[in-house]
Amino acid sequence: MQKEAAIREPLILGHKTYHDVTEDVCRPIEDKAPKMWYILFGIALVIGLYGVGSILYLLGTGIGVWGLNKTIGWAWDITNFVWWVGIGHAGTLISAVLLLFRQKWRMAINRSAEAMTIFAVFMAGTFPLIHMGRLWVGYWVMPIPNQFGSLWVNFNSPLLWDVFAISTYLSVSLVFWYIGLIPDFATIRDRAKKPLARKMYGILSFGWSGRAKHWNRFELVSLVLAGLATPLVFSVHSIVSFDFATSVIPGWHTTIFPPYFVAGAVFSGFAMVQTLLLIMRKAMGLEAYIHTKHVEYMNIVIMVTGSIVGTAYITELFISWYSGVEYESYAFINRATGPYWWAYWSMMTCNVISPQLMWIRSLRRSLLFTFFISIVVNIGMWFERYVIIVTSIHRDYIPAAWSMHFPSHIDIAVYIGTIGLFFVFFLLFARYFPVLALNEVKTILKGSGQSYKESPDYHKHH
């Protein structure tokens, strides 16, 4: 058992036993779902189905139904793609990077953050796929022998790097998540009273029995997967940024992009984790495990990554002037003062100013304030991608080609639809899956549980 300094706030509040942890996490799964769950699920499903319908219409008609034009070939579609991939960065960062750094507070939040990651990357993947227009030939992005005289995909292209990056990220995150889920499914299986639940969780738990040798392997596999996933987290958004940075468009052609995109991704990902967890802890009665300290830690991450993003914005502005390239300078002047000034200043307000408020301790420990800021950050991060993509291309080199982007009804419906689908997945997860890595939380109960830390024996023998 590892002990920690008395001054540290306990990670598990109250007088919990091992059995209490199991009870607290499994009860919401075993009980009947509250009425609110059905209402939220219904709303999410309707919105999600509307999105699916819009996608089908899009596929049947062609991507002309989006508000794109000859000058603006990428707009909401790729904005949404990057936005969702960014959101999908928190889960694996929490479970992999924080595991390597031995941050024990991750244990209460990693499961749901990883679930969020996986669902967000699902939503992200939708956009490039439907952007192809002919979804049924989507497999052409794979280097497979073909009838075109073995014409291969272009391995020099960042768009192809993206295919590999996103698919690796999605599948490795999924495996990492599931390997952690197996022992927890076994706990639910061994408690299940209904035969159907016992059967389902029996299949899902793969016959896990908790043998010493299995736990030995489990810990190593978690560690190595974390080691592999850590560079993966940083590589994925770096590669997404290459989609822009390796082009010759002023405003995109920037070496600062990879670190700046990664910081932005972590920033928005943590904001989404806050949005979801602040509601979930309340709805599922998990306040003892995810409490103010966890929220504060996440707010510090938001503050740090938000500051990196803010620095990057200002560096970009400075460099565009300092470069002396008039196209480069104009791209940025146009962003701030051109027809899309409102998008630029929304981005600046949401992403640069709002995270700085987290320096104030009472604000970063306020749950209501955190919830508000978490929404603001994700709005800001959507605008960031919109600003980067649309304002950089809407004023082409030839003024005759200058254009504006107006989203069509399908643009909006597909975007809102993915939010609906995301919540459909997340609500299903919250209903049927252990939302807390309950068996991992048990390992820190004695080291960081309130009742253990406050007992007089805690600091006696070490």
Partner: protein, 178 residues
């Protein structure tokens, strides 16, 4: 040959570890420990060797690295060399920088999936496999040691009972295995 198995249950990981230590000191072989979470420090006591899955992950990663290198060299240099803007793909090395991202991603993909599949196969944990823990509570808050008489010729059952009485336990369950 019939065998008798003793399942000794505890409700605390530290207590089980101490008992295991005392039993092993007296020459008892503990064949298995079932617990809801990893008990740190139990492996050397009961003689569980460290897993070699890490080496496997490295080998799978190496496989991925090789496949990606060989594949991209074939696709881009040998089979269909392209000349983009007067910059032809003469050799792998000249074009290598563009191949770094996919080489990295493919290495990670092979290492992670190869290791995960090996892990599941070695554990014999696959979809639909039956649970083997002796008591359903071992995935909740109970910790069980499994002692097989066939693996303990030096001590008799009565001696073992005596030791366990002395050391203490929560529940003791005996099962005949045919």
């Amino acid at each position: 040959m019939s065998d008798k198995v003793l399942y000794v249950m505890y409700d605390d990981d530290e207590v089980l570890k101490n008992s295991a230590k005392q039993l092993v000191a007296k020459g008892v072989k503990i064949s298995e420990v079932f617990s809801p979470f990893p008990i740190h420090g139990i492996d050397p006591i009961i003689g569980v060797k460290n897993t070699r899955l890490g080496i496997m992950a490295f080998l799978y990663g190496l496989t991925g690295l090789t496949l990606a290198t060989v594949g991209m060299r074939y696709f881009m240099i040998v089979d269909w060399p392209m000349n983009i803007g007067g910059k032809p793909n003469f050799s792998y090395l000249e074009n290598m920088l563009a191949f770094v991202p996919i080489t990295f991603e493919f290495t990670v993909m092979c290492a992670a999936h190869g290791m995960a599949i090996t892990y599941l196969l070695r554990n014999k944990t696959l979809p639909g496999m039956p649970a083997q823990n002796p008591d359903p509570r071992t995935t909740d808050d109970k910790f069980v040691m499994e002692i097989r008489l066939s693996e303990n010729h030096k001590v008799t059952e009565a001696e073992l009972d005596g030791m366990l009485q002395e050391i203490g336990y929560l529940e003791l369950d005996k099962k005949e295995i045919k």
